[in-house]
Amino acid sequence: MSAQFNEFEKEIRESFSLPRSRAEYKEQLLQNLPLEKSLRHNWLDHLQLGWKLSMASLIMLAIAVFAVGPQRVLGQIQTWLGYVPNRGYVDLNSPMRVLREPVKSTREGVTVEVLSALLTGNETFMEYSVFGIPKEAIPNQESMEGCQERPFLRLPDGQILEQTKNGYPAVPREMNSATLVIPCITNTLPGKVPEHWELPLQFVASDKAPTSLPVVEEKPLPSTVETTSQAINAPVERGFGIEITRVIETPNGYILIGTVPTQNGDKLYQTFRHTPVISDATGKVIATRMPVDSNLINTDVLSALNAQGLDAWIVEFDIRDLSFPLTINYSLQQTINFDPIQMVDLTVDLGGTPALGEPVTVQKTLQIAGQKFTLLSVTPFADGYSFTIQLEGKQTSVGVEILGVQGLGAGGGLNPESKVQSTSIQYEKRPESPLNLRFSNLKVDGELVTLSTSWQPQAAHAPLPVASEDSKLCLNSTPLDTTGLERLNGEGWLLTSYDAQPEKRFVILSGLTLQDQTTLTENGFWAEFSPDGKKVYYVDNGQLAIFDIANQTTQQSDIFTQSRFELSNDGIGLAFISSWADGSSEIDITTLNAGGLYVVSKEIGAELVGWAADGKSLYYLVPSFSHDLWKVMHYDFTLHKSTEIFTITDATAKKIDAHISPDSKWIAYRARDNSSVRLISTDGQNSQLLAENANVVAIQWVKANLIIMTVKTSQAEKLKPLLVNIDDCTIRLVPESADMTIQDIYIP
């Protein structure tokens, strides 16, 4: 469609400067969409007979739930279902097998490697990576369709196992080999990369198979409901209470899965949180999270329950430092659409010739079914009117029309804070004053309902994992008690950015307690100190600028970048990412003393990690085609040559935010769960958890043993930057305020 736009329209489109979506995310989402009842039949049509038989029991379970209720059916599940994180439910009646060894094949610069496999009684999981896909093999226009042929497994007897939602159907127990056939690399253009890959795989029973977590039956417990108008502290009837249907015991805690109703008779409810609020026996609200693989857990039986006017919920939490029983609350908001027959009319005279765009004050209070609201003003515009209405209490909207005139369309909305509704209506020709207005269709928030239940495990939890002596685990999912923590102060500098408006980002230099602030730019990002702390390097309107702190002078460089950059410890080398209009990017290096431009990598999605301590080499990452694996690359600035060191296999596919420590000993990165932080030595030999499920959204090194980890707190999702000493896990509080993010800290 973009071809139909004229030049100015194309400019409008380009002015948004939007990135393209990640192809692997797009594909993965499609694969992970839940299987719904309405589509299940068609989906089953594609399965092999053996898989259909093994799935039949799951479907029978779903049917049984309708007949006898979830609890009794789930009681049967535990006898044969286990749960493997990131894999899903597994049949415990069959021993698990794994890949004997990784299998790799390279053709014309493209490498496909099967890294692991897990064979269970009901499914086959396969993990493989693809590196080296060139830019020209990836569709860059919507009219271009990449390859969509799915890989499959070919068994020794010739049987084909087609790809399913999470992997492949089960490989029969008696078969210990298969061939992974990849007709083409998903989403690549035909003829641009090698096709028809065949990788022979061998499977073995092994103690390396992952341990499955127990899936436990949950007996129904009394549920109570409390509304804004009345409290009913008695068990409620089944069908309008919160229920826990399944429990998975994890190494550190539990995953609870349950349901809440979305209707009660003719009353409709909305959930405005998607997880319950849980407090322990002392009344303390505990930290919870969505399991990383919730899409795998919350399937089969619960998706069937959705069809019964129930909403499924799922939550994970750790049990360190909490006491049972737990109280589980889930809030629902009733929405009431007042009888549309009830209405009120009003005639408004705007005078002779009202000025366009100038509001005419009306200030008239009206009433529908006892609900009062006020028409504040009417503003004429070229072909219509805009009405400003002050709503009251829990009113959320009211309809307005001019009687006798057909509108072409209307738009508007409600400011939830001021409760002022603005509605604009357009007409073929703007009606003349006086206007005969009609107000109707009033909508009001109804009762707020909180459903509660109590829960404690039926059996004691297995012993919690004990941290090893050299563990660097400094943060976990338990909310940090900040009382008594030292605040960052003393000598040094702080670089912060502040989002004043959606499109404006101030970069501010200050002392460590935010004193003596200097605004460096109103449209910048990514700022860092020179190693000696005398200068600030930052991006100002897409161009690198250098601020001399002592002289208070700014020098604009001729380096254009819209993204992260890294300065070497000797203050000479500057590595940055250049992004291009076609969506591609490259890592470049220039020197601040002699200039020059050296292309380090043109590989798709390559990310900077940082310079080695001696300033003679650079570390960067190259993602696999599906972004779930990252090759750690080392670029020698003397030889101008890159070498692969090792592969990070447990990082997030979203924003890895990898950074090298100033002594180039560790690389810190966000882990696969998007919440933890891991350290890996730069030779790839040692790996440690630094923060576990701590909601870390950003990381930045300050010194060899000091790192800033910015965590998202449970209080309105506020960000809290913490300065953590990785040697002793002491934590200092870094100044914070709304919309402000820490860019860098310099401590002499």
Partner: protein, 159 residues
């Protein structure tokens, strides 16, 4: 309609929804979360959609509802570097072009929200006038008229 129909429509229209959501949210993580919610909801309710030609306005309505839920639930958060890594042009584009784009962006930001939404749906969502009218609850004629008026207004301010 079955799963294959959904997959086809998903592949055809995913990028339009993604671009629209990115223009509203500005960071990849939230965009992916809402994109997932939108298509999961669409997938769940797909059986209720009888006419595949209405898929695009239908899925945009879902994404706008998800956005409303999102804003109600939480204040948008910009983490370190969250907004970076975009495909913004730099070396390839001249300073004049960048300045002109920035000027257009500024003009769009100053428009009333409903006009910004019209632009987002048309140029990022690539919806037809008929589809926009279905999403916004206006007539096709009024939608067309509003957009042409907006374009003329923007163009005159750029001259």
């Amino acid at each position: 309609m079955n799963k294959d129909d959904f997959s086809t429509l998903y592949r055809q229209h995913f990028d339009q929804v993604y671009r629209y959501l990115f223009s509203r949210l500005g960071n990849q993580q939230d965009v992916e979360d809402l994109c997932s919610q939108t298509f999961i909801q669409a997938y769940k309710s797909f059986a209720s959609l009888r006419d595949p030609a209405r898929f695009l306005p239908w899925v945009f309505k879902i994404s706008r509802n998800k956005l409303n839920d999102f804003w109600r639930r939480q204040k948008p958060i910009v983490a370190l570097d969250d907004e970076l890594g975009s495909g913004s042009p730099n070396l390839l584009h001249s300073t004049e072009e960048l300045e002109r784009h920035e000027r257009i962006a500024q003009l769009i930001r100053n428009l009333p929200e409903k006009d910004q939404e019209l632009i987002r749906l048309r140029y990022l969502g690539e919806l037809s006038f008929r589809e926009i009218s279905q999403v916004m609850g206006k007539s096709e004629g009024a939608t067309k008229k509003s957009l042409y008026r907006l374009l003329a207004q923007l163009q005159s301010r750029m001259e």
